[in-house]
Structure formats: C-alpha cells, structure tokens
Amino acid sequence: MTTDIQIKCRNVWKVFGPTPKAFMQRHNNNPSAQNLSDEGYIGAVQDVSFDVHAGEILIIMGLSGSGKSTIIRCITRLNDPTSGEIELEGEDLLAASPEELVELRRHKMGMVFQNFGLLPHRSVLSNVAFPLEVQGMSVKDREKRAREMIDLVGLGGREEYFPRELSGGQQQRVGIARSLAVEPDVWFLDEPFSALDPLIRAEMQDEFLRLQKMLKKTIVFITHDFEEATRLADRIGIMKDGRMVQMGTPEELILHPADDYVAAFAQNAPRDRIVSAKAIMEPAGDGQKSQPENSVPANAKIGTIAAQIIGADTAVPVVDDEGIIVGQISRQIMSDALFGTDAP
C-alpha cells in the first residue's frame, strides 16, 4: 500500500495571525486551543495528517470554516503551511522554489473553484486554453486540445461564449475543462458544485463520475454535503475546527463514527446505499455452504436485501463469493442498521 501514496500530509498546521511562525515556535509546534485564542491567532488547519492514494476519490468534509479549503490550499501551496510536511509523489512540496511550483502547477495539479474563477474577458475557448497558453504552447495546438476538453464536458458549440453568458452549471463545466486541459496527475475540487442548484448539482455529480471513470485521476474533493460525499467518495475525511476528526470509507464513518460530530454528519446519509451486509452481520456458521435462494451475498448493500431479511422469519445467512456462510443478519439487526440503534 505504500507505493501508491500520491500525497502525504504530516502534522500540517496553518495558523493565521501577526507572526504565525514565531507563535508556532513558542509553543513547540503544538499550540493548544487556549494558546490560539489567548494570543488572537486562528488555527485554520491544526495538526492534520493523512495520505491520498493514487486513483482514489478522497472527499474532505466539514462545516464552513472548518479548514477544508485551507488544507487543500496548503497542498497546492496557494497558502504556505505554517509547519508540517507535505509530499507529492515522494517529493517535498514545501521545499519547491517558486519556479518549481509553477512547473508543478503546469503539469501535475489541476484545480476547480467554488465560484468558478473564470477569466471574465476571455471566451470559453480561451479560458480552457489558458493554462496551455501560459506554458507557451502554440495557438493551434492549444486550441485543438481546448476544443477536445470542451467537447468532453459537453459544451461543444459554446466555444465563443463569454463566461457571463453561461449558466452556473455551464461555467463550472468550463472550470472543469480548464483544470483538465493540462492532464494533471492530481485533481483538486473545492466545493465545485456548492454554488449550483440541487438539480444541476446532481447532473454535475453524474458528469463528474463519468469523467473519473475515463480519466482515473487522483482526486481531492471538498464538499460540505454528506450526501454528495457518499455518492462520490472512495474515502471521506471529516474536519472540525481545523482538525481531521476521522478518515475512512463512508461505511466506516456511518457504522463507527469517532464522535458525535461525525455521527451527526452520518445521520442523514443514505445508509441503505452505503452499508454492506458484511459490515452489520453477526457471526454464524462454521464453514458450511448455504442454498443461494435463502442467503444474501456479503458485499450486497443493505438497501437491496432489506426486504428479504425483514420478510424472513429467522435470521438470514450471509455468504461469501464461494457461497460459504460467513455470518447472519436478523430482522432486528437490519432495522438498527437502517434507522440507527435508537430507532423504535
């Protein structure tokens, strides 16, 4: 598992205030909440460590102001972290010189912004071609590539439009096309769909999944919407007041929330579509096989097997791929899993 780590963050701090570096040193790089508030500093990101694996969609979630944007901006070096280590593909990002940083952004990173960040004076085509233009690519090549990208996000025919002539959803498609134009290894999206209407948002999420199926990028995606997170994520990290409270698969977060904050987020999640039989079954069986018709597969999401289990008189066996019984689920377990333990 160590080889496919694309981004590695260790004990990252970002502190805002008059002299953040000195402040951190004063407190041994580990100030308390009390230190911060006493001296009037803001700990936007506090002691955050995590890895991003190649090809995964990592979603960072949290309430507004919890430091999601700041951690992503530390990785892209739009903000310089106050302390800590960040590596991209094994290279120390914090040691990169301004010139190296420009090169990294030109070839390795792409980013999509909540408010799109389109250049108002440039057409769609010219916006998408912009990252290639600043690299010095010829007009012909960059426009060819930009047109491909525009077609990819379904905006073909709008090349000559200006951003203000497009709807929000269309503008964000331009933002996405632009960020993909340089074929980045890592793709950052900071609440890309939060400024959009719910209907458009769902459409854009499908679009996003479609693109990812083709492109297989490493993605760090920020949202404050748990439903969006569970639809898209391989793993989710939850942030609160600058700290990473928990990171894991959606299923882990729902079934084993680290604290009430995570539990509160998980509350409204569509459990039936996230939790699998394996995760809630109780131990049963001793290696024998079961008839396929009165058992359920271990990988099945509970939403798909709920009717069968609730309709059965006794606990239903859970089987693995070979049909061997690995556990069982009772009616009670299923209702707890679907509605939470405190449900009637």
Partner: protein
C-alpha cells in the same frame, strides 16, 4: 431615543468641561495678544525665509545642479523632448499638417464624422449623434483650431498619465514600501491646488505647450493610480488563484489575469484622467498652453463674457463627449457573435472611417472649406451675447448691486475683519485642543504642526483670508445643500433629478463657474464666494442624501412606533444618525472649496490662491509652492478633525 441623541447627565458634565477648556484657551490667546504685539501678528523678523531658500534651490536646480558635465537641466530638457514628440505629431495630424511634405491636417469633416463613428462603435447611434453634434459645434462656432490645440494636449496627456498611474498603482500593490511612500504623497498632491505645481514646472521646464502638458500629467495621474490600486485589490480571489493554479508566473498573473479582470475599474480611472486633464486646460494656459483654455482666460480677463460662454461651452462639450465615450467603453461587456460575420462587417467602423477620410480629402482638394471652415462660414453669438449681457447688467445692476453691497459691507467685511483679527495663539490653541479631544495626541500634534508652519513661514494673513472665503462659502453650501439632500431623500423623483444634476455638474471643469458669477456680480469677495459655492456644493447634497437613505429601517420604524411626527423623526432620529455621513460630505465640500480658491484667484482675491497666481510670472517657486502647501495644510487640518469626529460619532452610534 435617549441612547441615540446621547444626552444624559454624565455627558452633560463632560460637555461643560469641554466648553471650559475651549474658553480658557481662547481667553488666554486674546489676553496674550493684548499684552504682546507678536501674538496678534507674528513678528516679521521671526519668519523663517523658507520661501527664499526654496526659490533659490529651484533656481539652482534649473540652472546649475548636476554631476560633472551632466546638468540636471539636460535631464529636464530630455524629458521635455520626449514628451514633445507625440504632441507635435498629434498637432500635425489634428490641425497643423506638415507643410514641407504637403501633408494637410485631418479635415474637420473627417474628425466630426470620425468621432461619430467612434461613438457608434462604443455605444451605438445615440452616442454617435451626440458626439458628432458636439464636435460640430466646435467647427461652426469658429473654435476649431483652439479646440484641436486643447484636444492635442488631452490626447497625449491622457495615455501618458494613465500609463504612469497604472505602473505606480501596480507598484503600490506589489510593495509595502512603495505604498508607504506613494500613498501619503498622493494625499498631499490631492490636497494641494494644482496651480501650485505650475511654479516649479515653470522653473525647470519653462513656459509652453510641453510644460503645460507635464503639469497636466502630474495632476491627472493620481486618480489612475488610485483606480489601479482599487481595481487590483478587488479582483476576486478565485480568479487570481485559478490563474496561479493554471501555472502563471507572477508576471503572467499580473498581465493576463489581474489587469484584464480589473479592466472596468481601470477604465473608470482613465475616465477620471480625461476629466482631470480637461479640468486643467485653463490652469495649464497659465504656463503657456495655447488653446481653448487660454482663449477663455483672456475673455474672462477682458470681461468679454459672450465669447467666454462660447469657449467655456466648447470645453464642457469636449469634456462631456470624452466622458460619455470613456464611460461607455468602461461598461462594455464582452459578447460573442451569434453568426459568423463577414470580414467587412466586423471591420465596418474602420472601413467607414477610411471612406470618410478619402472623401473628405477629395472634397478638400476641391474646396478648402472642407478642410478648415473659413471664418466667414462660422458663426458667433459672442458679440450679441455681450450686448445682451451689457443691457441686462445695466438693467439689473441697480437691483443686484445693492444686494451685493449690502451682503459685502454688512456681512462679509465684518466676517473678514474678524478672521484677520484672530490672534494666532487662539487659532493654534483651539485647533490643537479640538484635535486632542477628537483624535488624541497624534491629531493634535499634526494639526498644531501644520498651523505652526503656516505661521512661521509668513503666510498667516493670506491663509486667514482663504479660511474666511472657504468658511463663508461652506456655510452657504451647507445651508443650501443639506436641505436639497433632505428633500431628495424624501422624494424619489426629486432624488433622480438632483443626483442627475450632481453628476452633470461634476463633469464641468471648475473655472466654468467663474463665467456666470462675473456676469452677475462683477469681481469681488461675493463673486469668489458664489463661484466656490457653485463648484463645491455637490458633495454636501450627495452625502446628505446618501446618509439619510442609509439610516437603518429598524431605527426609522422604532421612531414611528414611538409616536414621532415626521418632523420629530427627521430632527431627532434621522439627522443625528446620518450626521457622520453628512459631515464627510461637508469635509469634501471644504476640500473642493479650497481647490476652488486657487481658481478664483484668476478673477482677483487676496488669499493664498492669489499668492500662487502671483508667483507664476516671476517664477517665484518658494512663494507659489508654500502658498499651495498652506492650502493643503488647511485642507488636511479640516479633514483630520472632521474624520476623527465622524469616526468617534459612528462608534458612539454603533453604525458602520
């Protein structure tokens, strides 16, 4: 209600102590003046001859300064030479032609239609017709050549000032050190009347078109820098960051992302540069710029008011056309073309202009009236207007002059004598005490220092005359402007009209107001005051209006439920809440009034403005500069005191 008007017992006690403090300072000052002659008039032998030193320094700079063989004078000559080139070419093009090459200037028809084409390109048919009609006026009224002289200076000064301003603005946003040097310098430049810059320019560059252009550039550049700073600072952070993430180097980020995104604010800066440039045309004529400004100045001085009206109108029309064009350009939004257009259609404006050019040159070959309208084909109503005016003054003067004399003798002269009598310790003491009460030691120190500088450099008497003029006009501005502002806030229709009028009045260059004032009241203090009044009352109106409509609705509703009558509501609730805003308007009025005192010097006065004006022909740099800086000092004192007061008051009211 009591928490709004802030009247309670403890503050009443405080108020008494304030009154006592002021009374003590004043009494002490008056007493001192009675005991010691030097307190009512600073002894002449104690005046620091800073004036002379400055004059000598600039003379030395202009004549002798230098390193080895390289004189400072050579540098100024080189600068002048560089500026002269584009100006000469523009002049060739607009009205001179190059005789040795047989190249005639652009025919007036081509320019009139050309400006119409530009208007159409930027803003459609209405703007096209309006612009062309205004320029047609210049031709028909025989002001063509002078207009083109003025326009040449404008056309060259605007890009030069805009580019310098742009770079200074960029520099300020990139470097903290630059910001700490340049920002206060601009503040000082803004407060110093522009005429004061003229004197050192004359010493270093002499008289003529180029020095006039330099003065214009120096004067018109700060607003561009300010707009650049504002524009760059307000580019949305998303856009800047997306640029950075696109892999821009810092330079690419600036030129490809930030500057284009700030395009609207930058264009408003260019608009302000244009307006400032036109505001300068008369002032620039004092250092030898020929053109409309010079003609207007002569007409005013010879009291040929009919001609002055025509020339003044020409300047106003040029100003309004360039204002409309640049505003329309600033507000233009990019738009895609629905259907692919033919080459000819995309370039129709330039094609139209080329056609006009060819046709008009051909016509000019056939009859020179198409190149320059001969005098006998132009009209002027100047002479008739003069007759009419003379008749009108003769008829009206018997009625106007008693009013004028009454106001002058019974009100203005006593007021003036009072200001002249004021012993300097009284003024110094009250200003410092007010500064201390309002803004603490730093404000007291600064204001005190500025008053002291005026005293010891020997500008006390003209400074007090300036204060007297400004004081009288600002009082009237408030008495007229605030009620108009209140009325506008009460009535939307009035508001639309009044705000429109304010916008229009602000496009007029300041000296325009001299014309009607002299027409009605001849020269004298009253005319000065009325001209200042006409120029400076706009902010008093505007800020009163804005202050009142920004009173939070909650406060208004609370007042109504408390059973206030509309009148009580106005006096006890709205005005007190809006007062800080209104005071900021009055602050601006004072600044504009001070600037105007330098202009009214053209029609005679005895204040600091006159000191500057007198310094020009003799190239007495020290006198002109220090008088200008004294005006700036008065402005800064007023500004600091009022701002400190408004800040305190807003805090007390808990409004932003």
């Amino acid at each position: 209600m009591s928490d709004i008007t802030l009247h309670n017992n403890s503050s009443l006690a405080q108020k008494y102590s304030v009154v006592l403090q002021f009374a003590a300072v004043i009494a002490f000052g008056v007493l001192l003046a009675n005991l010691w002659q030097g307190a009512s008039r600073w002894p002449a032998e104690w005046v620091i001859p800073l004036k002379l030193w400055l004059t000598e320094f600039f003379n030395w700079l202009g004549k002798e300064a230098g390193i080895g063989d390289y004189k400072f004078r050579d540098l100024t000559r080189a600068i002048a030479w560089f500026l002269k080139q584009p100006l000469t070419w523009t002049e060739y093009l607009l009205y001179r032609g190059v005789r040795s090459w047989g190249m005639p200037p652009l025919p007036w028809v081509a320019i009139v239609v050309g400006i119409g084409i530009v208007g159409h390109w930027i803003g459609g048919w209405r703007l096209a017709l309006f612009s062309a009609a205004c320029f047609l006026y210049l031709a028909i009224f025989g002001l063509w050549k002078d207009s083109m002289r003025t326009l040449s200076i404008v056309l060259v000064s605007v890009p030069v000032a805009a580019i310098i301003g742009l770079f200074l603005g960029i520099w300020v946003t990139r470097s903290k050190r630059a910001a700490s040097i340049i920002t206060p310098m601009f503040d000082l430049m803004q407060a110093t009347p522009h005429m004061a810059y003229l004197v050192p320019i004359v010493v270093l560059f002499g008289f003529g078109q180029v020095p006039a252009m330099m003065a214009t550039v120096i004067f018109a550049m700060p607003p561009m820098a300010r707009c650049t700073i504002l524009g760059l600072q307000t580019v949305p952070s998303d856009i800047i960051e997306s640029g950075a993430m696109s892999g821009c180097t810092p330079r690419q980020l600036l030129w490809k992302v930030e500057i284009p995104s700030a395009h609207q604010t930058l264009m408003l800066g260019v608009n302000q540069v244009i307006m400032q440039t036109l505001a300068m045309v008369v002032i620039a004529s004092l250092v030898g710029a020929s053109g409309l400004g010079q003609k207007l100045l002569f007409s005013l001085q010879q009291l040929r008011l009919g001609a002055a009206v025509e020339q003044g109108l020409a300047i106003v029309l040029i100003a309004v056309v360039l204002d409309r064009l640049s505003q329309a350009l600033a507000h233009r939004q990019p738009q895609h073309m629905e259907v692919k257009q033919t080459w000819a259609r995309r370039h129709r404006h330039i094609l139209a202009f080329i056609t006009v050019l060819v046709v008009s040159y051909a016509l000019a070959k056939y009859s020179s009236a198409w190149a320059i309208l001969p005098k006998k084909m132009t009209i002027t109503l100047g002479r008739d207007m003069d007759y009419a005016l003379r008749w009108f003054s003769k008829e009206a003067y018997p009625y106007i002059s008693p009013v004028r004399d009454f106001i002058t003798v019974e009100m203005l002269i006593p007021l003036r004598n009072f200001f002249l009598w004021l012993p300097w310790p009284v003024v110094l003491g009250t200003v410092m005490l007010a500064g201390w009460r309002l803004g603490g030691a730093s404000v007291a120190g600064l204001t005190g220092y500025l008053v002291a500088m005026i005293i010891i450099t020997g500008f006390w008497v003209p400074a007090m005359l300036t204060v007297y003029l400004v004081f009288s006009s600002v009082i009237i501005c408030v008495l007229i402007g605030v009620p108009i502002g209140i009325w506008s806030a009460r009535n939307d229709r009035v508001a639309r009209f009044v705000m429109g009028a304010c916008d229009t009045l602000q496009t007029f260059p300041s000296f325009i107001y001299l014309i009607p004032v002299i027409m009605l009241f001849k020269v004298g203090d009253l005319s000065n005051i009325l001209a200042i009044l006409a120029y400076a009352s706009v902010p008093a109106v505007r800020y009163t209006y804005l202050g009142l409509i920004r009173v939070p609705p909650v406060i208004n509703e609370a007042a109504l439920t408390n059973g206030c009558t509309p009148r009580q509501k106005l006096w006890k609730v709205e005005l007190p809440v809006a007062l800080p805003e209104i005071m900021l308007g009055i602050n601006q009025t004072i600044m504009m009034a001070l600037a105007m005192t330098a202009i009214t010097a053209l029609i005679g006065s005895r204040d600091l403005g006159q000191e500057i004006y007198r310094a020009l022909p003799t190239a007495d740099t020290g006198r002109g500069l220090l008088a200008g800086l004294s005006i700036a000092a008065i402005g800064i004192i007023a500004d600091r005191l009022i701002s400190a007061w408004a800040k305190k008051r807003k805090e007390a009211l808990g409004v932003e």
